[in-house]
Symmetry: C2
């Protein structure tokens, strides 16, 4: 590429421009500029030629037409090899550098502007300049990002005022992506103003993973180009350990899904994308042991998340420094809001363990918005499930629940159930120290009775393992959907369960309530179902 | 809007153009056209003015610059109210109609063109014209779709050669969407040529659903704008019944996932997104009963899919016409490649039942490509899991399996396991008539032993219910991943299971094999894991 001798600057966002423009002027680059840009430059004593001098046309129609001109666009577009004679004959001078960004359509849209305001903020000239320059990147450098000026300045200094083909290619790629994002936003907005919604999603490759769910599946992670800063899970700070695998990422999402909505300090344990341990309470150093006790078999090789700062004493249950290596608990991933230095040193004993700190920013914007699932040829989009219960209505003669006090235990149980796949049953209890514990769960079963059995069996086993009486009378059974048949209640009665929380709404509700009454079980309807399929 | 008096036509794709252009000419519309378009029109005796007469400039630089001109773009862009005097002073005549489509970048890309060829097929002029006309849709009609000419002709005739604001708005929305798709393709292609992948996905609203996974979640289905014709699940032909719900769609996807890869005629039953019934065989009229017997409790309220034509005799098991209504099986959705008239009449007895015929086209392109899952701020992308097994290696002293003959039963078992969530166990068998049947499955458990127990218990129960000996010695146990502990094998032995299929690869493999040998169990390694999380 010939060195840069002539530049066109036409920008809406003037950030960082002064220094770059001054550098160009100092190096003898002839600058052409448009209306507002020219004013900005001349106020700073940077000389530029008014574009109307080049086009021999006025800026017309309230600025709608200023750069849309044969001379300007030919200067950007003509092929620097093939078309050189034709350009000379037509007295077209090449433009070597274009610095351009667009009317702020996206920002204006966010300010709830009306259609006319939006339309005036659809940039025609700027987009045309950028697309023309990008197409001709072999002869033109196109700069669309106000954060690139300094790096380009350095390269221009080093390379005697020219830019490598590689740099121009990168600038071209960025330019076309910028235009595509801009037009995607316009297309989506205009579509939605006609009362039809549309989705345009844009992602950049973040990294290639070793493999997907299984070793024979290739996998890649992409970052959402429009995601708010800090909202991308893989931008969280990994403090130690191996790279996250595909399945680690899925498990980590579930671990955070279950632990982040809880009010008190909490710890979740995920295995094969199933929440098999969960505890919440004020006595933080006890949470991991309580969560682990929810399924001591499955917790091996799990992914663990805390919604709070973690200290070494919160982790010693893992016995990472036990000289008997068989006592050390093996886990795959641990995430927390923060780790103390001491906690981190302790965790790093397991060099492979993936340790992540999750930023407050991430948590603040987590799980707002929509949940998307791909189906063949399309996408299902739904509101995130961010309710717990609507009411807590006792429908039986007996009522064991002190609603005033135990509301929060119900919420805890529902947060657990929300992340367990249907049919889902959670048995939760309040421990002596006021902590809440998931004592057993039944998940992923095609009928509800299976899940009730699975949850009850593991809860009883866990109580025995914890040296307690395997009595389920103080435990709440939370069901994510209604009971279709009385057999579930019969089983609960036989297991000694005394309190059931469920949405209600079955045509069999009357029979279900009678069965509870027969066995002295208290049952409460919440009005909110929590299927997770 | 004033009636259309002056039109600019500049098209790459000339389909359907002749009739439309002739109509415009007949109605006295002055047509301006560019190079190839003008040639096309004049060959058909349609008069048009060469654009160079309007711009007073030659078509330059091999066609790179022909429409990029002050006069033309002002004619499209000036505000028909505010700028009328300015336009007159500048001698700008309005252009009322733009007919334009772009260089075929996408098609050229598909033909494996090199970078130079691609770059020449990035349309600058056309995109600029369309964006300018779309911005000024209050004064200009912009036509970018060759399939819209006839409808517009009708409206022009009815409305005395003008188009309603509503039509111009719709044309504008389509124009911006067309540009956005075009630029998305360019941006993606240019990004990928620099060895970074990117994803740009674009969806249009297909319909709003009653609700999402739960009644308190709003939900919408979108169609992929770039999906091949026929590949969208909701474009399949619904022959009867209520609208598909969010959960119906998820279940239907799973039902098809499990049944479509099978070679012989097959039937799958999905409940809560779990394959709880599956049968494959030549005796089609027996398949539904065999599949149903895999979990007669859960099959109530299920979603059913066949991979073949379905006749009435294949369905009578449902007993829809039984005078004892309690015998009639209740199902939510049934899908098949085709239904005979008789089958359809029979199914329609249940007026709410959703009946879908799946096109051969859909099946042909089903499940090619990638599988995407949303995570906070990004997407995980992986190859579809379309392997079954790599080898079938007997690792034990005993070998019950006639590998030559039973290979297909192993494949059947693996296709089942692929769609069951981890930890997943399937018990499958060959029936006397040569059909294959899923006799029991264990799914969604955080440890493998649970799943082995669940699958074995239901298989034994099902055998008893089918009036058979509850002996599992002829059944294959298929595990989607290796066994971590010997307890699984001990449990299999106690249940009478004699044949185990699993990928292998545990550090405990040696112990696992010894345990099998101790109990006379035959075990085969496949080398391929099938986690589904």
């Amino acid at each position: 590429m010939r060195s840069i001798k002539r530049a066109l600057i036409s920008v809406s966002d003037k950030s960082n421009l002064e220094r770059f423009a001054r550098f160009l002027e100092d190096r003898g680059v002839k600058i052409i500029s448009t209306g507002g840009t020219r004013e900005f430059l001349s106020q700073r004593n940077i000389t530029s030629t008014d574009i109307t001098k080049v086009t021999s046309r006025p800026e017309s129609f309230g600025g709608r037409v200023k750069t849309l001109d044969f001379t300007i666009l030919s200067g950007l577009l003509f092929d620097r090899e093939k078309d050189i004679n034709e350009a000379e004959a037509l007295e077209i001078e090449p433009i070597d550098l274009l610095v351009c960004n667009f009317y702020p359509f996206t920002q204006v849209k966010k300010s709830q502007a009306d259609l006319d305001k939006l339309i005036e903020n659809i940039d025609i000239g700027g987009v045309t300049l950028v697309r023309a320059a990008a197409k001709n990147f072999r002869g033109v450098a196109v700069v669309t990002d106000v954060h690139n000026y300094d790096a380009l300045t350095r390269e221009l200094i080093e390379n005697n005022m020219s830019l490598s083909l590689e740099t121009r290619y990168k600038l071209m790629v960025k330019a076309f992506n910028t235009v595509a994002n801009y037009d995607a936003d316009i297309a989506t907005t205009m579509t939605e103003m006609s009362c039809k919604s549309s989705l345009r999603l844009s992602y950049s490759e973040y990294k290639t993973l070793r493999y997907g769910e299984n070793p024979h599946q290739n996998a890649t992670v992409y970052r959402d180009n429009n995601a708010q800063a800090g909202s991308f899970l893989l931008d969280q700070n990994q403090l130690s350990g191996k790279d996250l695998s595909f399945n680690n990422v899925l498990d980590l999402v579930s671990a955070l899904d279950v632990v982040l909505p809880l009010e008190r300090q909490a710890c979740s344990i995920i295995k094969h994308n199933i929440p098999c341990g969960l505890a919440e309470g004020d006595n933080k150093s006890n949470l991991l042991a309580l969560a682990w006790a929810g399924d001591p078999v499955s917790s091996f090789g799990s992914v663990i998340a805390f919604n709070c700062l973690v200290d070494k004493k919160d982790l010693v249950f893992l016995e990472f420094d036990n000289s008997d290596k068989t006592k050390r608990k093996f886990i795959e991933v641990i995430a927390a809001l923060e780790f103390t230095e001491e906690a981190l040193s302790y965790l790093k004993i397991q060099t492979n363990l993936r340790i992540l700190s999750i930023s407050q920013k991430f948590i603040d914007i987590y799980s707002k918005g929509r949940e998307l699932r791909f189906i063949p040829g399309g996408v299902l989009s739904q509101d995130v499930n961010n309710k717990t219960y609507e009411k807590l209505e006792c429908v039986t003669k007996t009522s064991y629940l002190d609603l005033g006090k135990k509301n929060k235990l119900v919420s805890f149980g529902i947060e657990a159930i929300k992340q367990i796949r249907s049919n889902a049953i959670a048995l939760v209890r309040e421990c002596r120290d006021g902590s809440y514990q998931l004592l057993g769960q039944g998940s992923g079963q095609p009928n509800r009775l299976n899940s009730v059995k699975l949850a009850s069996e593991i809860a009883q086993k866990n109580l025995i393992d914890q040296g307690e009486d395997p009595n389920l009378s103080d435990v709440l059974l939370v069901s994510e959907a209604f009971f279709p048949f009385v057999d579930n209640i019969e089983y609960c009665a036989a297991s000694g369960i005394k309190t059931i929380i469920q949405p209600g709404g079955s045509i069999k509700d009357k029979d279900i309530i009678s069965a509870c009454d027969k066995h002295g079980i208290a049952m409460y309807f919440t009005g909110i179902r929590h299927f997770k399929h």
